[in-house]
């Protein structure tokens, strides 16, 4: 209970601190939104120029970037500071965290308030509202629950990938560059039904870098394309659960890496 109280208190104070630098605060929100410009362009082109993609109609395709963006926005808001572990190692902050009787991962997340997440989430909520308003699906409680689970699962899957990179950084700080590559890849391919890509690429984005489980498979299940994804239906349907499992695995990897932390400058 004390842990929740501390987390809430630090988050509140960090947010208040960001608010006091008004221009910086607004700029960060704008950067968060502008960063997603490629997704906005994709959605606009999709809706105005195409009727569909890979056997999906436009409104169904729109559910993919909307789900991914919302999962990403929540990741940035709740767990996104893990993305900066490489820099925190270089600055000696991880050493400082190790001096306190509090899990290091939690301290990484409480380092500052991610104002840019407000921009990310604003775009994501707008996109999801657009996707749902154009959707012809019957949004039953079951479908809505699955969508929420998919968003949370997607958030955890993205967190798992970046926690994996952060764990590598604890041992090899140069692994930080992999995080940038990963971010680029998620942004580039996260909005498409992966069946439009060559099989090898689709396979890599399913079994190599499990991007397909973030939004493509859950959207396929929701829109009735679950049998055409190239993986067993049950595997695609279990995407939210895989997010949870991947995150738990990543946290175990983090704990192991932290025990072998060598820091910088001896």
């Amino acid at each position: 209970m004390n842990a929740v109280r501390i987390a809430w208190r630090v988050t509140r104070l960090n947010f208040r601190a960001q608010l006091e630098y008004r221009t910086e605060f607004l700029l960060m929100i704008a950067i968060g939104a502008i960063w997603q410009v490629s997704v906005i362009v994709f959605a606009t082109v999709l809706l105005t120029r195409f009727t569909g993609m890979g056997g999906w109609d436009s409104s169904e395709v729109l559910l993919i970037p909307a789900t991914r963006m919302l999962a990403h926005g929540l990741f940035v808001l709740v767990l996104g500071r893990v993305h900066l572990v490489g820099r925190q190692i270089q600055e000696g902050k991880i050493d400082t965290y190790l001096l306190r009787p509090m899990p290091v991962h939690r301290q990484v997340q409480l380092a500052f308030f991610p104002t840019n997440a407000i921009g990310d989430l604003t775009v994501a909520v707008g996109l999801m509202a657009g996707a749902l308003s154009r959707s012809n699906l019957d949004w039953t409680p079951g479908r809505i629950s699955y969508l929420i689970a998919a968003i949370l699962g997607g958030m955890l899957l993205e967190a798992a990938l970046f926690t994996g990179v952060a764990s590598a950084c604890l041992r090899f700080p140069a692994a930080d560059y992999w995080g940038r590559w990963l971010e680029e890849l998620l942004g580039t391919f996260g909005s498409y039904p992966l069946n439009v890509l060559p099989k090898a690429v689709g396979g890599f984005l399913t079994y190599g870098l499990p991007l397909a489980f973030v939004a493509y498979f859950p959207a396929a299940i929701l829109t009735g394309h679950g049998h055409d994804t190239g993986v067993p239906y049950w595997l695609a349907a279990l995407s939210p659960l895989l997010g949870v499992l991947a995150y738990l695995g990543a946290r175990l990897l983090w704990r192991w890496s932290l025990r072998h932390y060598t820091g910088v400058n001896g």
Binding site: N2, R5, I6, R9, V10, L13, N14, A17, Q18, E91, G92, K93, D95, T96, L98, L99, R100, P101, M102, F112, R259, H260, Y261, T262, G263, N265, G266
Partner: protein, 331 residues
């Protein structure tokens, strides 16, 4: 709980890749990397008694910071053992963290964007310090470090001196029995340095805290510490009191005497040599390994000669440590 520090045969080895010179060398390193072991700390043993302030000294890269990182639970040793207030720091990091306070002079443990007092309040919650106790300790620290003049300022706007004073308070707010200070006064002006030294002396003498201090400032060592451990290239070179170290490396005193009669026949005394003799002015210095202390030499000179004036020049700790470092390089 024993609030001391025990270090037994502590070693820490880092493995690095040798960078070969030139472009071809870089390519060769990529294809066939040559790994070398760097022994940052090698078989180091020492104790710090409860309530003692020990200065851990050595040139840059000697292994001081690595030793402190192991004792604070940041790093795991390759071999050997360490206990801090009865806890093995790298096995029970969070339990150890409750028993220690640490200040690294070049980095802060405060929240960069928050006012100092907010950071203190967060630390109070993390360490679960009762509110009344926290307020009383904060008042005590304010009296000693004059914190209230800037504690509503964000950390990012503090001067170095204000920041380190805040860090010192933050490190001690949970009343830890053991404190680690890694170059705490680096870059400070003399007034703030003196304030910090007074604070540290108070913490050791009045609060009975065990302190392990690393510094390159010999005035600080002289003012705060009675015992020093010297390490170099990761190895312990010397562990002793300041007096012992002075005796070993600091026998460079000089006694300058003005004789009543300029024609006195001057000769050396046991363990004392005549370094210069110019009319009534005579300079005596130590002679051989059995040279007396400067005070014994002073007494011997006064007893042997009729003098109208006398002065002593003693090597300061800076000179003594320079001699000790040179000795450490030679072995």
């Amino acid at each position: 709980m024993d609030a001391g520090i025990e270090v037994r045969g502590l070693s820490r080895t880092f493995h690095t890749t040798v960078r070969r010179p030139g472009f071809t060398g870089a390519l060769r390193s990529l294809v066939n990397p040559e790994r070398v072991a760097k022994h940052a700390v090698s078989d180091v043993s020492f104790d710090v008694s409860p309530g003692e302030l020990l200065a851990l000294l050595g040139p840059n890269g000697a292994g001081k910071s690595t030793t402190i990182k192991i004792l604070t639970g940041i790093l795991t040793p390759t071999s050997g053992e360490a206990r801090v207030a009865g806890v093995v720091p790298y096995e029970e990091r969070e339990r150890n963290a409750r028993n220690i306070g640490a200040v690294f002079g070049q980095r802060t443990q405060l929240w960069w964007d928050l006012p100092v007092r907010e950071s203190f309040a967060i630390l109070r919650d993390i360490y679960e310090v009762p509110k009344a106790e926290h307020a009383a300790r904060l008042k005590e620290f304010d009296d000693l470090l004059d914190l209230s003049s800037f504690w509503d300022t964000r950390v990012r706007h503090l001067s170095l001196g204000q920041r380190v004073r805040s860090d010192l308070a933050a490190a001690l707010l949970h009343d830890p029995p053991v404190v680690f200070l890694d170059e705490p006064t680096i870059g400070m002006d003399v007034v703030v340095k003196e304030q910090v030294r007074e604070f540290l002396r108070y913490q050791v003498e009045e609060r009975g805290r065990t302190v392990l201090l690393t510094t390159h400032d010999m005035t600080e060592v002289e003012r705060l510490s009675e015992r020093v451990v010297l390490i170099n290239h990761g190895r312990l070179v010397l562990d002793g009191s300041l007096d012992e170290i002075r005796r070993t490396f600091g026998s460079t005193w000089q006694v300058r005497a003005t004789l009543a009669d300029a024609h006195t026949d001057v000769a050396g005394l046991p363990g004392i040599a005549v370094l210069r003799h110019d009319g009534p002015q005579v300079v005596f210095g130590p002679d051989g390994p059995d040279a007396p202390t400067v005070h014994q030499a002073l007494k011997a000179v006064i007893e042997r000669y009729e003098v109208t004036g006398i002065a002593i020049d003693e090597a300061d700790l800076e000179d003594v440590m320079r001699a000790a470092y040179v000795h450490a390089e030679a072995i």
